[in-house]
Subunit: 138 residues, 2 copies
DNA sequence: CATTAAGTCTATAAAATTTGTAGGTTTTAT
DNA sequence: ATAAAACCTACAAATTTTATAGACTTAATG
């Protein structure tokens, strides 16, 4: 399941995408519209900024805005940023790989192969679908 | 990510599948071979029993054993039993459906449709693959 | 029929993770 | 100079996951 953090991130991105023409948008505006705690959202937007999706302007009249085209923001990147691995097992994760501590031998772990399949099919979708698709569906 | 509970369940099922001919097998034997806390595994095996995958025998000489064919134990059922929903959003879960509290309107939630796709592709694999496939891979 | 070895059950504790908060700092428009 | 906004770090609260405790039931066996 996606964490609240990730869901909030999508809400914020969607909101910013919808109001792209309006320049910098206040954290407060987003947090109020979506019933998200201001401070919590602050952290999330900051992460999205550091990851290169958002720009910001400080001081009076400041706020956040998209600096990437919605088509250039695949869902997979947002999920990975806020939630971590997409794979169901660490030993199968592309971005957060770790050997499973339970299995002594990964090559002959029965789950491994199946979970690679699941990962690949999931990524096919989450890497192809972008913020643009979400915006269009709304 | 799958929880430890689910991973332990798969290890136990695999072990029981491998030693199907040996009759009832002690919790302790499984917990030792896989480095799982005895008591923790106990709870897991009990759940698997209540769900109809395992049988057990009490008292001296007792233990657990598979009562379903490995081909009749899809991975999806084990994951759902121990971990809960497979879907990435509650509003898209087949077995644990709940409306998302963040979205007022699910029909026009942009994520909804994508996550239905992810769910379906994931389930295609996890419902088709069974304990048998895991046993064969080991 | 007493003993011992096993699973059953319920409750609780510990650890880890996620979610949320506090409060000061920096930047900028006016 | 002031006020409004993002930035940053640390911490606190809540929730979930993982693990433990201990009493109860059942069955085999000498």
């Amino acid at each position: 399941m996606l964490s609240k953090k990730t869901k909030y991130a999508f809400h914020a991105l969607t909101y910013l995408g919808k109001h792209k023409d309006k320049g910098a948008i206040l954290i407060q505006e987003i947090s109020e519209k979506h019933g998200i705690s201001h401070k919590f959202l602050e952290n999330i937007l900051l992460e999205l900024k550091k990851a290169g999706f958002l720009g910001s302007k400080k001081g009076k009249g400041g706020g956040y805005y998209l600096i990437k085209e919605p088509t250039e923001i695949p869902l997979s990147r947002i999920i990975r940023l806020l939630d971590g691995p997409i794979a169901l097992l660490p030993c199968v994760s592309l971005n957060y790989y770790e050997p499973c501590d339970e299995c002594e031998n990964q090559a002959q772990c029965g789950l491994n192969r199946v979970m690679i399949k699941v990962r690949d099919e999931t990524l096919k979708i989450l890497e192809m679908k972008t913020l643009k698709d979400i915006l269009e569906n709304e």
